[in-house]
């Protein structure tokens, strides 16, 4: 049982074709999740009646269960729910015609929303109260103060956390292969089992994930440097 070094390169080229799908699976949920997270944060911050309890439960549950559960619950649950609704409304629509990737994206977006809401919240709470008071005192409306004063500072402070979650979601996409998505891990699995060279294929996949993670970290490092330019030294 030796290792076929040459095959790693063959597998690498084959698996690399799945990078776009993996990036879609990672980026789309983060973008949708950001808006979910923002909404949830605002609901929790302003203690909106009724919604507040739901938002708290949502964040707690999604942070307290493995992401594979979210994918499976939605993958099996939503079709059941939709089918019964369509059947009762006599709409001839089969949920089996919805591609699986839609469910995966939906599930991961909900997961991302829960994690991002905590990040946004900690970012906002890191901006001192005086900033909002100062904005109000020069006549800004709450909306203006949030948009121009609060969020830019909160976002700058959340960059390290946002990087972590981006890398985390890149890695989370690997479990989409359990619902037969052909992303990096899924493709690696196909390449591995069709050539019976498991180790080589997963080494190649590991290198791709590693490379992508390093690139994400590098980009965020550059962004952080730019964003923090103004706050170099002096009093904060």
């Amino acid at each position: 049982m030796g290792i076929d070094i040459g095959f790693i390169w063959v597998a690498f080229k084959e698996i690399a074709k799945a990078i776009p799908l993996t990036l879609v699976l990672a980026i789309v949920p983060i973008i949708i999740g950001f808006f979910i997270g923002l909404a949830v944060t605002l609901i929790r911050e302003y203690k909106v009646k009724g919604l507040y309890v739901i938002a708290n439960g949502y964040v707690s549950f999604f942070r307290g269960t493995p992401a594979i559960m979210h994918i499976m619950l939605i993958y099996f649950g939503i079709p059941l729910l939709l089918d019964s609704i369509f059947a009762s409304l006599h709409i001839p629509f089969q949920t089996s015609s919805i591609p699986i990737i839609v469910f995966v994206l939906f599930a991961l977006s909900l997961t991302a929303g829960a994690y991002l809401s905590e990040i946004i919240r900690s970012g906002i709470s890191s901006v001192t109260k005086g900033q909002m008071e100062a904005a109000h005192s020069i006549g800004m409306s709450t909306y203006q103060a949030m948009k121009r004063i609060l969020f830019p500072q909160a976002l700058a402070k959340s960059i390290p956390n946002l990087t972590n979650i981006s890398v985390g979601f890149l890695h989370l996409t690997s479990i989409a292969f359990l619902v037969s998505q052909k992303e990096l891990t899924g493709t690696a699995n196909i390449v591995a089992s069709s050539n019976l060279k498991f180790l080589e294929a997963f080494i190649a996949a590991g290198i791709i994930y590693w490379g992508l993670s390093i690139i994400i970290e590098g980009i965020s490092h550059l962004i952080e440097k730019r964003v923090k330019e103004y706050s170099k030294g002096g009093v904060t």
């Binding site: 269960t65 493995p66 559960m69 059941l80 989370l172 891990t185």
Partner: protein, 234 residues
């Protein structure tokens, strides 16, 4: 065939699945224990700036943090037997449980190494200097001055890692472990009620996480006992 979705099955599945919670917690406990040991050994070269070892540790940490746990599982599962067969040790018949333990220990080790390094660096060097100036030995300095302060900084991160690791164990079934998730998969195969099984599993995971969080919060208060009223800093 019964109903498509039968909520009463959820209650029926929970006791069956909970019997396998022990395996899940066993994987968690053992891998955290070894993870801490690996983490300490991996943090030392970086803290004391030991050449060569430091670079090896950096690559190790970078690789673990740069790849998904599922890839690490497959690499250990397929790679370790291949590696050991070079020195004529045959472990292809070894229980998948050991591969899982090895993978999660290595994975946790990298995360713990970063946590420990960050926590020890967070204790000001003046503390060490002060300890030496009143005649403490390096050993006493570490156990009485640096460690108690470092653990306070590290603990919230350690708690997060433990909870994250618990959630990660749900992927161990991919290499054939009979933990809670693995048992769930067999239940699905035999009952064809996937949704109910996953709801039951989610409930169990959620309750375990809530219990862990509660426990950690109590301990966190204990580590912060000298911090006065304002414990929100750092």
């Amino acid at each position: 065939m019964g109903k498509v979705f039968d909520p009463s099955l959820i209650l029926e599945f929970i006791p069956t699945l909970i019997k396998y919670l022990g395996v899940t917690l066993e994987i968690l406990a053992v891998s955290i224990l070894f993870g801490v040991l690996i983490g300490i050994s991996a943090a030392i070269p970086k803290l004391f700036n030991i050449p060569i070892l430091k670079q090896i540790v950096t690559v190790y940490i970078s690789f673990i943090r740069g790849t998904p746990i599922i890839i690490q599982l497959f690499l250990v599962y397929y790679g370790l037997p291949a590696l050991l067969s070079l020195i004529y040790i045959d472990i292809t018949r070894m229980d998948a449980f050991f591969f899982v333990i090895i993978t999660y220990s290595i994975s946790n080790g990298a995360i713990f190494a970063e946590i420990f390094r960050g926590a020890i660096n967070a204790v000001e060097f003046g503390q060490t200097e002060a300890a030496y100036s009143i005649g403490m030995t390096p050993f006493y300095n570490f156990t009485r001055i640096v460690f108690p302060q470092a653990i306070r900084v590290a603990f919230p991160n350690i708690a997060n890692t433990v909870i994250g690791s618990l959630k990660d164990t749900s992927l161990a079934f991919t290499i054939g472990i009979m933990d809670m998730m693995g048992r769930g998969e067999t239940l699905i195969a035999s009952s064809a009620h996937a949704l109910e099984v996953y709801i039951a599993l989610s409930v169990i995971y959620y309750v375990v996480v809530l219990i862990l969080e509660k426990g950690f919060r109590v301990f966190e208060k204990y580590t912060n006992r000298y911090q006065g009223i304002d414990t929100s800093v750092a």
